[in-house]
């Protein structure tokens, strides 16, 4: 059995990026089935065009159409493609200097085995049929048949220049909890709230941390805490958001469990939102036992106990 609990996590975000005039020109070209390079102050044609000249640092203003045929100047085999790459089967990445350009462009080369590639090999662009103005409008490079010419693409359309792209980024992780957090979650699955005490300053943290944030000492002594506590501060959620499970308005609160020195966030329900207050005494409302897992969601929410409010002095250090 592993020492810690872990779970898969996916972090994703669609980055929207404005292209500016130079990359916009390049990407507009791709959408139209044409590769556009930029001429540098040294007279070199560079693909993709650099936004600023590498020597003079002036904005690139001279654009040159180059061929969609070219020569492989370097390549590498990709035996185990990763998610998002141009192919999900083995392929090659290649640097290809297009005819009319002076420096190579990086892209995929569709070949079945490393035996089919060599430096100096002639290739052409395989255009995607539906193009939208980004680098994947070039599906890949492919071998140029003996006596073959450049790819045949549809007539160029005259449409607005490309001014932005969307790049979806998605990363997958196996996220592990620390041993202390693992103890916390395992205890929750047994209906217990377990924190840890700092041996130096005596403070009790729940969830437990690998070190006391006040003095850096590893915490070790386990402390089981009751499921009752005090609201130290709270907010009334009025704004709907993606993935919201409760209809607003509702209350998110910091709850200081009795015997703890740090508050944690949970929901306060079973009371009108406007009646929730600092110092209010609350108790955990657990879900039915058969729904428990290694999660804080075993506690559905906290509800008022009906006791008199706690003295401000009892929680003022925890705000």
């Amino acid at each position: 059995m592993p020492r810690t609990l872990s779970a898969p996590v996916t972090v994703a975000f669609d980055y929207t990026r404005s292209t500016g005039p130079v990359l916009g020109r390049f990407l507009s070209g791709l959408r139209d089935g044409v590769v556009v390079g930029g001429r540098t102050s040294e007279g070199k044609v560079v693909v993709p065009p650099p936004e600023f000249d590498p020597v003079t640092h002036a904005a690139t203003e001279e654009f040159v159409e180059v061929a969609d045929t070219g020569t492989v100047t370097s390549w590498t085999w990709v035996p185990e493609p990763v998610k998002g790459q141009p192919f999900d089967r083995p392929f090659a990445f290649a640097l290809v200097t297009l005819d009319g350009a002076d420096v190579p462009l990086l892209h995929a080369l569709d070949v079945a085995s490393p035996a089919e590639v060599e430096t100096g090999m002639r290739v052409r662009v395989r255009w995607r049929s539906e193009r939208k103005g980004d680098i994947t409008d070039i599906e890949c490079f492919e071998a140029l048949p003996e006596g073959g010419t450049g790819s045949t693409v549809q007539a160029r359309e005259t449409v607005d220049p490309v001014t932005g792209i969307v790049v979806p980024i998605e990363l997958d992780y196996l996220y592990a909890a620390s041993p202390e957090e693992s103890l916390f979650y395992t205890s929750l699955s047994e209906g217990k709230l377990v924190g840890q005490r700092c041996p130096s300053c005596g403070k009790v943290y729940i969830p437990p941390r690998s070190a006391c944030p006040a003095d850096g000492t590893p915490t070790s002594e386990e402390v089981e805490l009751p499921d009752t506590g005090t609201v130290t501060t709270f907010c009334i959620v009025n704004v709907p958001f993606l993935g919201q499970r409760i209809t607003p308005p509702y209350v998110s609160a910091y709850i200081l469990l009795d015997g703890a020195d740090i508050a944690f966030l949970h929901l306060i329900l079973d009371i009108p939102a406007e009646e929730v207050r600092m110092g209010m005494r609350v108790k955990a409302v657990w879900k039915p036992k058969d729904q428990w897992g290694t999660t804080i969601e075993n506690i559905d929410h906290f509800a008022p106990t009906g006791e008199p409010d706690a003295d401000y002095e009892t929680y003022r250090q925890h705000l």
Binding site: P48, P50, W75, T76, V103, I135, S178, R209, S210
Partner: protein, 354 residues
């Protein structure tokens, strides 16, 4: 310029860290080692700087959680770079140069194994024309290796020699993830992986953390018998595009080396995550044949993201502390195919006179 020395170093490297990517659990004992080496407590440390990345951790603000390992009451003077430990050290060195502080602990951590490292690193590329293709680290290094092979600047045998020497030296390094040399012939007989690279040409995916301790002048002498004085420190960057630079060279490494006093360097710890990159670095830095390269085994033995570069500086410093060498070089790289390079020259009092 103030004289600043590396006076402490601690590290952990492993194939897979079975714990939280915040790495607090790894950092607490590292700091304890630094305190033991110097006799300091956290209150003696004037400045802290860490290196890490949320993309590696898979969570936001991972460096904030890591600060738990320091303990922040009373508050500490603290900063962060989304770069390797070597660059955190650069920031701390500058901080000490300002005169504001005399001492610093820099640290870095990363759990590469939580995701697919070679894929995650695509996010450091040009975001319009490169990242959408997800060019992985191994592929980009493969393009570079091929370019040199085609140009006749190195051959597979030279690459295997680097790997064999690294894996042999790594046998003496308790932190090495991959170790055990055999022979150049045996390595060359192994199958290609990402042609032209075999697996031993590529650094193993590694988790880990490391910390370096810096101190100025008398503060350094107080805590270290033979401080490893930072005699030169330089960092340069090449363009990000793979097409516009000659991949067989590393102008940024050359410039960083040229900005440093490399005369009389006896040992060089080079951060070369791929075997051919060591060949490029040796050439760009102009290291003579009698300079001992990577006695630790180097990055081919273990390459924890965000600390592997700084570990090179720590390993180099150890050579000075022990008296084995009087002048050494630590190098760190970052970005695709040796795009960024930092060179740090360390010397003992004796080595500083030469």
């Amino acid at each position: 310029m103030r004289d600043v020395a590396v006076v402490g170093f601690a590290q952990r490297q492993m194939k897979e860290f079975d714990g939280s990517p915040t790495c607090v659990e790894l950092l607490v004992p590292l700091f304890a080692e630094c305190y033991e080496q110097t006799g300091w407590t956290r209150r003696d440390v004037g400045f802290w700087c860490s290196g890490s990345s949320d993309y590696l951790a898979g969570r936001s603000f991972s460096f904030v959680q890591a600060v738990d390992a320091i303990g922040v009451i009373p508050p500490v003077n603290e900063s962060h770079v989304e770069m390797d430990l070597a660059w955190a050290m650069y920031e701390a060195w500058l901080k000490i140069q300002t005169g504001e502080v005399d001492t610093a602990v820099v640290y870095a951590f990363g759990k590469s194994s939580a995701g697919v490292l070679r894929r995650t690193l695509s996010l450091q590329l040009e975001p319009y024309t490169m990242t959408p293709l997800w060019p992985d680290t191994v592929s980009l290094a493969g393009l570079q290796a091929r370019a040199g092979l085609d140009a006749g600047l190195w051959d597979e045998r030279a690459m295997a020699e680097v790997a064999n020497r690294s894996l042999t030296d790594a046998e003496k390094n308790e932190y090495a993830v991959r170790k055990g040399g055999s022979s150049v012939e045996e390595l060359l007989a192994r199958p290609m992986y990402a042609d032209p690279l075999r697996k031993h040409d590529c650094a193993p995916v590694s988790d880990g953390a490391a910390a370096l301790v810096l101190a100025a002048g008398d503060k350094a002498r107080e805590v270290c018998e033979r401080p490893a004085w930072i005699r030169s420190l330089a960092h340069y960057i090449d363009p990000m595009s793979m097409g516009t630079r000659d991949l067989t060279h590393s102008p940024s490494a050359q410039r960083a080396g040229a900005a440093c006093d490399l005369d009389g360097v006896e040992v060089a710890e080079l951060h070369a995550p791929f075997s051919h990159q060591e060949l490029i670095l040796r050439s760009e830095l102009g290291l003579a044949d009698d300079v001992r390269i990577n006695p630790s085994g180097g990055a081919l033995a273990s390459n924890p993201m965000f600390s592997a570069g700084g570990i090179r500086i720590g390993e180099a410093a150890k050579q000075v502390w022990s008296g084995e060498s009087s002048k050494v070089l630590g190098h760190a790289t970052s970005g695709p195919a040796l795009q960024q390079n930092l060179v740090c020259v360390l010397a003992s009092d004796k080595g500083s006179e030469s």
